[in-house]
Structure formats: C-alpha cells, structure tokens
Amino acid sequence: MSNILMSVKKIHKHYGRDPERVHVLKSIDLDIEKGESVSIMGQSGSGKSTLLTIMGGLNEPTEGALEIKNTNLYDLNHEKRAEFRQMNLGFVFQQFQLLSYLTAIENVMLPLVTLKLTNKEKRFRAMKVLKRVGLEDKAHRLPNQLSGGEQERVAIARAIVNEPEIVLADEPTGSLDTKTGDEIMNVFGELNASGMTVIMVTHNPVYAKYFKRVITMKDGQLTNLGG
C-alpha cells in the first residue's frame, strides 16, 4: 500500500446549475501506484476528460478528495496548486496546444520559465528532453513547420521537462494516423519504463495493449478498475 501515488476518493462532479445541472462523475474511487501505466477508456461523454483534469489538479470536484503524494490537492489554494502541478505533474493536452509563436525548444522550456534557473540550464534541460523524443534536430522550428506527430513529441517533451512523477495525457493520438499513433505510444512506453507514472485517456481500444492497466468508464462511473 505504501506504493500508492495518487488516490481518488469518492469524487463527484457536477457541471452547471439547477435545472441544467449534470452529474458527470458519480463517486469515483481509484488508487494509482507509482510506476503504473493506466489508460482510461469509455464512450464519448462518459466523463473521461473530466476525471483526468480532476486527477491533474486542474478541475475542482464538487465532492470528494484527491491525494497525490499525501497532499490533498483541492485543499490548496489556486496558486499553491499551480506550484504543485509545476513540480509534480506533466500534461499532454488534446490537439497538442503548442504556442504557435514559440519555437519547439521554447515551447518545451515553458514550464521552466518561472523557475529560478539560468537560461543556459533551461535550454540544456529542454534540449535533453527533445533528444529523448527524437526531435533535437528540429528544436528551432515553429509548430507549423512540424508534422502532427512531431508536434505531439514536442508536447510530450514539454510535459516531462520538469521531470514530473506523473504524466497525464488526454487523447494524444486523436488526430494522428495509426503508424504515428503507435510511435507516440512507444514514447509513452519508454517514459513509463524509465519510472514515470502515465495516465492517458484514449478512445481507441487498439492502444489498450500499450498499458498495464485499462480502466473503463460508463456514465460517470468506473466499470472496470483494471489492474
């Protein structure tokens, strides 16, 4: 039990106000251990993204608690939670979400910008993770000069540049072809192999094989805890 990194406790999430209030997550309980690779699958609208953003400390639940490394995230104020995310979590957003006016390496450096590091150190660390995703030769390109798969790699590099323990990704392969999708899944596989905990929302069952644990959701409830 000492290996539990993240603990989701009786989480409920409602969106909107009465009478249009919708109950999106219904009492979710889930523990994730250090080093796991977890995929969350389910139909569209089942609440996967909502759960993932709550697990990432980005979306306040209506009820329940989220503990990561024994810190109750939603007990922290917004600024402290931002700091916690910066130190412990990495995100790969849908549609990559790169800033179009920054080069690949600058996008990767973003999470380091507000840290007390020298510019040289920031560049060094950004270059190191770009190498890890196989993009060091395209570090100075703008996002629109990169292919979809390459942009995805930049997004992954940005998510791991602060050396987080947990990487959360929401449908990172959604807009990629199967071959590129497989390559990206392999990158996540390598990250997990190096000790990072990976939690990914994905639609496509063919990617299930890349994960040690597959959780399924339906109508805001977990139907299979996997593992």
């Binding site: 980005l58 995310r85 957003f93 179009s100 973003l110 910008v113 507000t114 602060n162």
Partner: protein
C-alpha cells in the same frame, strides 16, 4: 527564455492587434499633447501681449501727497527694476478751454505712446514722434467738441498751443483727453516736478503683476501700486474657454483610446484563452500572467506615447494658428515627452486593467477545451 520574451514574441506575432492599440494610444496622446502645446503657447503669447499692450500697473500717491519725477529712478533701482519695461509718468489736471472743463494729461511722449500702441494718428504709430513744448495732441471727441483739427491753435490758460494732431478714436477715456508734453504742462500749471501717476509695464511673464506691485510699494513708501489686469483678464478668459474646449475634446478622445485598448485586449484575451489555460496548467501563477500582459501593454503604451508626442507637436504647429491664433515655436521638450509617456501609460493601464485581471483568473482547464 523568460516572461519578457514570451510577451515580445507574442507582440510580434499579433502585431496587427498591437498596432491597433498603438494607434489608439497615439491618437489620445497626440490630442492631449497638441492641446497642452497650444495652451502653453497661448500663455506665452499672453505675456508678450501684456508687454506690448499698455501698463501692467499704475502707481498713485497714497500717504504721500505727491509723486515726483525722480520717483521713477527709485522704481528702476528696486529689485524688480530689471523687469520694468516702460515707466510712463503722467500729470493729470483739469483746465478750461472756452469756459469748458477738459482733462489734460502731461506725458513723456515716447514712453506713453510705446506703452499704448493703439493710440495712433491717421493710423500711424506715435512712439517715435517729436513734439515741441507748445504742441498738444487732442483726443478724438475733444477735437470734435471744440471743432479743432491738426495745425489749429488752442488757448489754454492764456498760452497758445498748436494742435500736433488728433488721435484716431479708440472708444475709451483717451478720446476725451488732451495730451501735452509733461514739462510744458508742469510749468504751465506751476507744478514743478509733480506727477499724478506712473503707468508701468513689466517684461516678466512668469512673475505675477501683483508681486511687481508689492515691490513697487516697498520701493516707494507711501504710494499705492494697483495691478491692471484687464488685458490679461480678457486674454485669460479666452484661454480658459479654449482650455475647457480642449479638455473636453481631449477627454472624449482619451476615452475612445481607452475603449480601443479595452476592446482589443478583451478580444485578444478571448483568442488566447487556451494559451492562458496552458500557462496556468503548467504552473504559472496569476502574477506571471499579469507580467506577460503587463510587458505587452507597456511596450504598446511606450510606442503609442512616442508616436503620439511627435504627431501631437506637428498637430499643434499646424492647428495652433487656426484654433487659437498662436504660433508654436517651441517644439519638443523633455517635460512634454514625460507627459506624453505618462498619458500613454495611463491609457494603457486604464484600458487593460480589467482584461488582464480577467485573464489572470482564467481556469487552467481552458487548455483542455477545444
């Protein structure tokens, strides 16, 4: 990479939006600057006109029974002596002509007519004329009254005077006067060195005439110096009216500038919701977001301010003569530059404070929406 570089990169990428805000601020600053310049020129011009048009103060006896010619020297020797442009002494008395009472003024011809350039004969200036001791100048209505004209002889206290000329009518008390050389009037009336009053004008644009008057009273104990400010009041009033007009116009333009910044910032933030969501998700704090937007708005304000001061100075030069009948000679000054930058940052801050606070409060999940 730091927050500044993010701000600069974004400015370059969204340069059309940035330019729109620069222009908005520039127009506001230019309006304010040209208005400030025109009012300042009007003030300077007012100073010039006071010098040119008549006395700033009159000095009359108060506790002393009489002023004398040498009192002029005392004024010149006082601490405001260097500012005193013209002192025009006057002896005023009533004499009888054909059994009618007439006011006669003994004057020093050159100083009197230099100080009052509006007194003319047949339109020509009198400041350089030479008058003989037995010559007089008649005011327009006095000449009319006694049916005399240039070259006629008028008898005053049994002495004959030749009429040097008749003043063009000016519609004030000068029309009903007779002017004679000071010395000849003093001896005619047996008044020695007596003077009824001095009219003095000062060069000084900066020092208030009230101060000048006080110094004169100290230099000549027992006298009273009365500031005359009609000319100044008149012009001051027109400056006041122009100031009100300019203020109103500037305020309207400033508000438009603020609105341009406000709406542009709001749409810009709307477009950048995702981006701000990313910043927040990866750990940027509110103050980091505010810094990025703050740097952007400062750069925009600075550019707007610099362009605005240039265009404002040009506008004042072109519009000054039409709007306020003044020539703007003095162009750019450090003070004006600082004022312009302050106005520009003011517009920038006012227009962006609400959008920026709104941006800093955006939720990090915005980054997951699409």
């Amino acid at each position: 990479m730091n927050l500044m570089q993010i701000a600069f990169s974004n400015l370059i990428r969204r340069r059309s939006k940035a330019m729109l805000m620069v222009i908005g601020i520039m127009v506001g600053v230019a309006t304010m600057v040209s208005f400030i310049q025109i009012v300042e020129a009007m003030r300077l011009d007012l100073g010039d006109r006071i010098d040119e048009f008549g006395a700033n103060a009159i000095v009359i006896p108060d506790k002393v029974s009489q002023l004398i010619t040498s009192d002029m020297e005392a004024i010149r020797a006082s601490e405001i002596g260097i500012y005193v442009n013209i002192i025009s002494p006057k002896l005023i008395d009533v004499v009888k002509i054909d059994d009618q009472d007439v006011l006669i003024a003994g004057i020093e011809v050159n100083s009197e007519f230099t100080q009052k350039p509006w007194l003319t004969i047949g339109g020509s200036d009198l400041s350089m004329i030479e008058m003989a001791d037995d010559e007089i100048i008649m005011g327009a209505s006095t000449a009319d009254n006694f049916q005399v004209s240039k070259g006629d002889t008028v008898t005053i206290m049994d002495k004959n005077f030749r009429v040097y000329g008749v003043l063009d009518p000016v519609g004030s008390e000068e029309d009903g006067l007779i002017f004679a050389p000071l010395h000849s009037l003093q001896s005619l009336l047996g008044r020695g060195d007596d003077i009824s009053m001095f009219e003095l004008s000062a060069y000084c644009n900066a020092c208030p005439i009230e101060e000048v008057a006080m110094v004169v009273e100290t230099a000549l104990p027992g006298t009273r110096a009365i500031p005359l400010s009609q000319a100044a009041t008149y012009r001051d009033q027109s400056i006041g009216e122009f100031e009100l007009f300019g203020m109103t116009l500037s305020l309207v333009v400033l508000m438009i500038s603020v609105l341009v910044v406000l709406t542009t910032m709001l749409t810009s933030i709307q477009e950048r919701v995702n981006e701000i969501g990313i910043f927040r998700a990866i750990g940027f704090k509110k103050r980091h977001i505010i810094t990025i937007f703050g740097v952007e708005i400062m750069v925009i304000s600075l550019m707007g301010g610099i362009l605005g001061v240039g265009i404002g100075v040009l506008m004042a030069k072109v519009l000054g003569p039409y709007l306020a009948d003044v020539q703007i000679v003095e162009a750019f000054s450090l003070k004006l530059g600082i004022q312009a930058i302050m106005i520009a940052t003011g517009i920038g801050l006012f227009g962006s404070i609400y959008p920026v606070i709104k941006a800093s409060k955006l939720d990090p999940i915005e980054a997951f929406r699409k």
